[in-house]
Amino acid sequence: MKVDTTVRMGSLELRTPLLTGSGTFGYGDEFHTLVDYRALGGIVTKSISAHPRPGNPPPRICETPGGGIINSIGLANIGVDGFIADKVSALPIGETRVFISVVGDAVEEYVTVVEKLEQVDWVDGYELNLSCPNVKQGGLDIGGDWRAVAAIVREVRAATGRFLAVKLTPHQPRIAPVVEAAAGEGAEALTLTNTLVGMAVDVERRRPLLGAVTGGYSGPPLKPVALAMVWQAAQAVDVPIWASGGIVTGLDGVEFLLAGASGLQLGSVFFADTKAPGRILQEMCDYCERHGITRLADLTGKLEPL
């Protein structure tokens, strides 16, 4: 039995549900010789802002017991102009779809970045990062308020006809109003979820493990939270959901599909296993074969009531 891995999301068709999580896969070519692009439906780049950002003081990454990691990169990136000028050759254009993650401190910045990217023809779509825990301004302040979310999606929607995804934070008392706001303004996919805010302490030295003290908590411990967000969002809206949070095996992917996701973002897993896309796709196909399922996409939302 051959399992059909293609997924359709509105106007978009991806050859597999697997995408990369923004910030974990750089500008697309860093893993070049190590990753099998054919297993990926698309990549999402590091978040790009209007101007270059240096990022946070080091150390920027640490581990927590139980398989978690915390990063405090602080959206270090070369800015949209540098990106357009320098990174075209880096992007795996043609090998897979390319979505640009966009970040900003205010509505205007999102629009500026998108407008500049509209000038180049190698972009398949955007993912608006409304949820970074690692910056003082923007990030959670914006993403935490459904009115601000609505405003940004509306303005960006007016600036582009390309595919538009919106990435949200789990630090919301309720996710429904936020996903409804984003969907209502024309978001074509909702990415759930960005990292949790986390922190770790070196008790012997009585110091934080990260230069910025707090950071974004990701990896397997995030999975239960991301699953809940995906499920709650799928109950609230009809827009395709891209899951992000602790996907390291094919069965993790299946959990998210069942909970309602259409796309699956691989993030931290690249730091442990550069062959993750091929392996995870295979593990999901094995699951389908075991259960007599012929299309991966058929799993989406198929959680049965208890």
Binding site: T33, P58, P65, I73
Partner: protein
Amino acid sequence: MSPVAEMGIVEEQIEISEGVVELTVRAPEIAGLSRAGQFVHVRVSTGFDPFLRRPMSVGPCGDGRLKLIFAIRGRGTRLLAGKLPGNTVDMIGPLGRGFDHPEEGVIPLLVAGGIGVVPLLLLNEQLPVGLERDFLLGVRSRTVLTVTDSEIERRHISVATDDGSLGYRGDVVQLLARRLDELDGRKVNIYGCGPGPMLTFLKRLCQERSIPAQVSLEVPMGCGVGACQSCAVLKADRKGYLLVCQDGPVFDIDAVDLSPEALP
């Protein structure tokens, strides 16, 4: 420039001194490609806990084998130390930018602190045979040597110990200062790797005497390939960062901030 993923096979596991382990790993591809100063990113768990790979300098290599030599610090290195002959080691590499060899007529001075000796062991092998050089190693005490006695002899390594239990009593940068006095006038190039305080002293010394130096840095890493920006170090001018996994791990000593605050 093109790292590969390779499943190495452990051929030998020995304890060099208490808490310092040497794995001889058969890994023909990486062993064939590695330059001194480059590193491999090693998976320590078969699952995802601990989650991150551990960066390890490529030690002496050749003949399809490379040596990983490391101090047991925490959970990751403890797991790695448990690898026995026949076990596999999941690695990607070689990664990063290694040491540039010295120009004609310049004497390379290899200055290692503790486990920082590893990349310099490979550099020592890759420097042209017969080239004059000096290889200095500082450790706390002879009980925590990071190189075997026989290697010390064979490689003509000059040892400094804090407690004077072997060789020069004092730190390795003081020993280096003496050597520089002896070599007065001759052109040298320093190759350094070691703990933060050593690098701080080394930079001060190099600046005082206007000697060029390349140093290899250690910071926590995520991807190891330049994708995640986890491994940033402050530039010397404190305006922006460089990436250890991509721009380094070997840097010109003048390029990076090596002040105590920058090396927590």
